[in-house]
Symmetry: C2
Subunit: 269 residues, 2 copies
């Protein structure tokens, strides 16, 4: 299989000083700067490729400090603390010596324990029975994902009326399909369109300021998920004076909860 657009987008070159060199990808362009999910995946990828890495990602937090300019950037991943089976990372992406992203990641070795999914997958029709979102995309990155909205699609009537609820449920995967890994799972965590547009359809300016991803999937579960569909569910909890949060879950078709994710988003009006 050839390198996908996603693999090309998150590729990093190690530099002699231990930092990594990355480049924004036109394939994942957003309104201003790149799709945040890919930037998050790039930050995570610096740890995944780091020679000192221990274990697999358990949590990732990225803060978007400024829109990335099209072009190259530097990723700094510093292992702040390495314990016997866990590791804490401090992340930063810079352009022209200025921080455009700050973040932290926690990696760990997993052991077999009692396990259970408490937030179980909601009942929705299978992907084949849910129509694929079509039509002209406002932004390029949307074309890199197949999305089938079972509930709460992107509004078609931007009338500004409060719908009272912001929940979306959709089947989604990379387009073209690509086997799931930690980097693509991080990016998929940011695919949900801003909840304020769903709750009260009005195209107000928005921007994610911080996103956290908890990885419940291990290597085996990623492998068994493969390039199948994920069911994503996303809902806002509070919209208050310029900032709202949204919380989301991602299951595979077998109903395994692969990731839970949260973000806080700036909005205007």
């Amino acid at each position: 299989m050839g390198a996908s657009a996603f693999d090309a987008a998150i590729a990093l070159q190690p530099r002699a000083d231990g930092m990594f060199l990355g480049h924004t990808s036109p394939a994942y362009a957003n309104m201003v700067g790149p799709f945040g999910g890919v930037t998050a995946a790039q930050a995570l990828n610096a740890v995944l490729q780091h020679p000192e890495r221990l274990g697999d990602p358990i949590s990732l937090t990225v803060n978007f400090a400024a829109a990335l300019a099209d072009g190259p950037f530097t990723v700094i991943a510093r292992p702040a603390r390495t314990n016997r089976s866990t590791q804490h990372w401090v992340l930063e992406i810079q352009q022209q010596g200025q921080a455009v992203l700050t973040g932290t990641a926690f990696f760990g070795l997993r052991r077999d324990t009692w396990s259970a999914d408490e937030h179980t997958m909601p009942a929705v029709p299978p992907p084949s029975e849910v129509v694929q979102a079509q039509g002209p995309a406002r932004v390029e990155w949307v074309k890199r994902y197949e999305m089938r909205f079972a509930e709460g699609a992107i509004p078609t009537e931007w009338d500004g009326k409060d719908r009272g609820v912001s929940r979306t449920r959709l089947w989604l995967r990379d387009s073209p399909p690509r086997p799931l890994d930690f980097a693509s799972l991080a990016a998929l965590s940011d695919v949900f369109f801003p909840r304020v547009w769903r709750r009260r359809p009005m195209l107000v300016p928005i921007g994610t300021v911080s996103m956290t991803v908890y990885f419940h999937a291990d290597q085996a579960l990623l492998k068994s998920t493969g390039d199948g569909y994920l069911l994503g569910q996303c809902q806002g909890q509070a919209f208050r004076n310029g900032f709202f949060d949204q919380t989301a879950q991602l299951w595979n078709q077998g109903g395994d909860l692969l990731a839970t994710t949260h973000q806080v988003v700036y909005y205007k009006e």
Copy 2:
């Protein structure tokens, strides 16, 4: 009003090099090291007291890299990026030159916008009708909070049987009561006991590895909340091979959603 135990615990002395000096507090001692909520509040307090601070906290992520030893520690708060109305901070707490906590915070100036709480407060009896948790506390910090469990109290039968659900709802506040501020709201976000103990009552070793708090309260809402009770709700989403997450909401008695918070926790067995 005199300084409370909480104010004493989170007090920081600015040093000439711009770092802050703090000290663990016996009043907030946990099984090993201090209560993580107070450590999170101390990290946030370094930004709150920083001369370069802009605005109020919107999000905070702290990663617990190692148990703090009883004694002094250094808090480093670095403004990584300051925009017109927002600011990104990188946080670290060190002991003996080693990171014991890493983190990031996002601060911002709020503006009046359309607002709504979507995750509304569940119906529970008022605080006066819910019995206060009593009895010998395993750890000292628990005595610094008044807790009234409306649902899902700390188990009394540690039989290891899967209860199928991990939800807890409780009224809580500082003890003695203390007017709510950003630092105490950060600490209150970590008051929920580990969901794995609720879901499957067995005293397995646990430790929070990462916690994120989204502050929906602004100064005015903190003030109107005062020293009243908060309703806290907390539930796990997935327990998988050594790590589980829990997600929580904190409302004031008037039903305003003040904070939403998430954490991922290590567990054994």
